[in-house]
Symmetry: C2
Subunit: 393 residues, 2 copies
């Protein structure tokens, strides 16, 4: 059953994050965090000690009291975060500073919430979907453009021991500020850049490639981000120290998931839901799972997404020839070729020889979980998902 609203939906928008964008902005940290606060600096595997970001942060905080907690892994791990929570409580920390990519920022959001949580176990926040209205204040210094977490109020945390990955969020989880210095892009490995480009591209697509509701400006902004990413991608992969390209890449990633383009429109997110299962099964990078699933998802749902696919093809890829079906198919092909141009293979069989049976495995998993149907119409059953995954072999 398709439930289509034909006009723009009511919405609320509030995003209080202060963005400090540009070269040299890290030094302004000192003005954003009151010197009366006791700060915990959180980071990941230590790349910030090689690219100069760590030195800049420490220099900026020379008049502050701070401690450090490094080693937050990709897909921030619950057990490790509990160690940081222990430090926060025992040391009387009052302010958190995430220096890193989406994983460090998401981990910090969990800690900001858990630090003030008075229930039995902080796992409740994730397990019971408790929304966070108040949290310990925190800021971020972004070192890896991709997830958009620096300007939104959501986070994803993993718990290996039980094989779970859970989301959390709430108005208390907006960073107080986020520093976006495009010069950090220069030292990001090419694989991560390609992932970031793909991730942000798919963030836009999940909020845009659904069905039309007459939200003309939201569509045009979404198309603007897509066009900008397409134009920036070859430049940034060729020379990540190209400041102009890095600045566009960074700002596109933030704007792709700061809440603006989803206001008033239906959203899909089926590609992410299916992609997460591929990461769980094969350890494939999150962004790459999206590139595997998206083309099949759009081909499988060609009819229900036809109008938007044609609009997308025309405005983003300049496809103006052929009938609607041809144009929609061509637009999907262009999308797939774009991912491939980033050196991101778009077939599951490019990543594993054990792909046979994946569709059934994922279908069963979804069935077992009793998930609600996926997609903008909430119409995709586990059976549909199986077909989509099979098409992506």
């Amino acid at each position: 059953m398709f439930i289509c609203s034909s006009s723009m939906q009511n919405f609320e928008l509030q995003n209080p994050v202060k963005i400090l964008f540009g070269k040299g902005e890290i030094s302004k940290l000192s003005q954003e965090i009151p010197t009366s606060e006791k700060v915990l600096i959180l980071y990941g595997g230590g790349s910030i000690k090689k690219n100069g970001v760590y030195e800049q942060v420490i220099a900026a905080l020379k008049d502050h009291t701070y401690l450090e907690f490094g080693g937050i892994p990709a897909n921030p791990e619950y057990e490790i975060l509990l160690n940081a929570l222990e430090v926060i409580k025992s040391e009387g920390i009052t302010y958190l500073l995430a220096v890193g990519g989406g994983s460090v920022i998401d981990g910090t959001k969990f800690l900001a919430s858990a630090a003030l949580y008075e229930g039995e176990s902080p796992w409740d926040i994730l397990d019971q979907g408790i929304r966070t209205f108040e949290a310990m204040p925190f800021g971020t210094v972004l070192t890896l453009p991709a997830t958009g977490s620096e300007m939104n109020s959501g986070a994803v945390v993993s718990r290996k021991e039980i094989g779970e990955k859970r989301g959390m969020g709430g108005p208390g989880l907006f960073p107080k500020f986020s520093v976006l210095d495009p010069t950090v892009v220069a030292t990001i490995p090419k694989r991560q850049l390609a992932n970031g480009l793909t991730d942000s591209y798919m963030h836009v697509m999940e909020q845009y490639l659904t069905y039309p509701v007459g939200a003309d400006l939201q569509d045009r902004i979404a198309e603007g981000i897509l066009s900008s990413l397409i134009e920036t991608a070859p430049k940034i992969l060729k020379d990540p120290s190209d400041y102009e390209a890095a600045a566009n890449f960074m700002w596109c990633c933030t704007m792709a998931l700061n809440g603006l383009i989803q206001k008033g429109v239906p959203t899909d997110w089926a590609v992410h839901a299916i992609g997460h299962e591929l990461t769980a099964l094969f350890g494939i990078d999150h962004a790459r799972t999206l590139a595997i699933v998206a083309p099949s998802h759009y081909r499988y749902n060609l009819k229900s997404k036809m109008e938007k696919l044609v609009q997308y093809g025309e405005r983003v890829w300049n496809i103006t020839e052929g009938n609607s079906e041809e144009r929609a198919s061509k637009a999907i092909e262009k999308t797939e070729l774009f991912f491939q141009s980033l050196d991101i293979p778009t077939r599951l069989s490019d990543y594993t020889e054990q792909y046979e049976g994946t569709a059934q495995t994922i279908g069963n998993t979804l069935n077992d979980r009793g998930w609600t149907a996926l997609g903008e119409h909430r119409s995709l059953s586990p059976k549909d998902v199986e077909s989509i995954v099979e098409m992506s072999y």
Copy 2:
């Protein structure tokens, strides 16, 4: 002398305004203003009593304590605002609610600042350019999309007795919330709709039609607003009760001046500066003065704006033939025709027979004021302005 930066400028962005968008959202007022507050409802000439907005506001505030202050005129007048300030102080008001268009909202911003100002005279705020960091909390219910004041922190106030119009602003002047209900558009007179379309179109142009700095996404969002306004204009003028068109129109006006598209790019604002003088001299509606000045301004500065004019022509008006100069000229012509399609004449002589000598008068005024040079290069002298005004006769 041209001072051109060739890359995106550093920027700070923070906009905490909560937007409540859509049909029926006025009823949520009751949740946004604590019942412990004593509210002053501010409005203009009383159109809100004819279009049902007043009843909705009063119904929403049935559990609140409130007073009313009506009669705030277009170009909010300092002397009248002082009367409202008296009410705020004598009645112990703690929260302001602007119900109206840009003038009522701007007047309310002045009052929010003046209510907490401890200096000798509130005129200081305007006269000495005192920035407002703290103000009485206030919300808005927008009834006339145009100025964008509902989602920014600036205001303009007039003082007739000395013939002055002054700006003010500061981070304390963001509304706590703004209700944008597109159904209010249905009862707006056609002349005001045309003005709102022109005003918001020119807000975008002043922040976009300058010179390229590689801020690709900002450009594309600006172009998206322009394209959306062009597409929406005939629909909204034909039938202002068309909800889809009204919603797009309203959201475009807000996004045109909420700070987003100006981040990292040079801005012009010469058209506004010159237009204000035409309003002062002839009482021509603000938006209409912009339509008079813009085409001449762009023609006069064709060379320095060439790159952006060509980009604008191609992306917004689909102009792909001819050399750069031809394409730039064609883009200006299209802009002029767009204003005319809204029934907005684009020549000063369409508004007054006394246009002779206007250029010299404005040139002299600017000279007397000792104004800084205008435009994105701060290179336009009063002599240049005279030429531009003369071209617009």
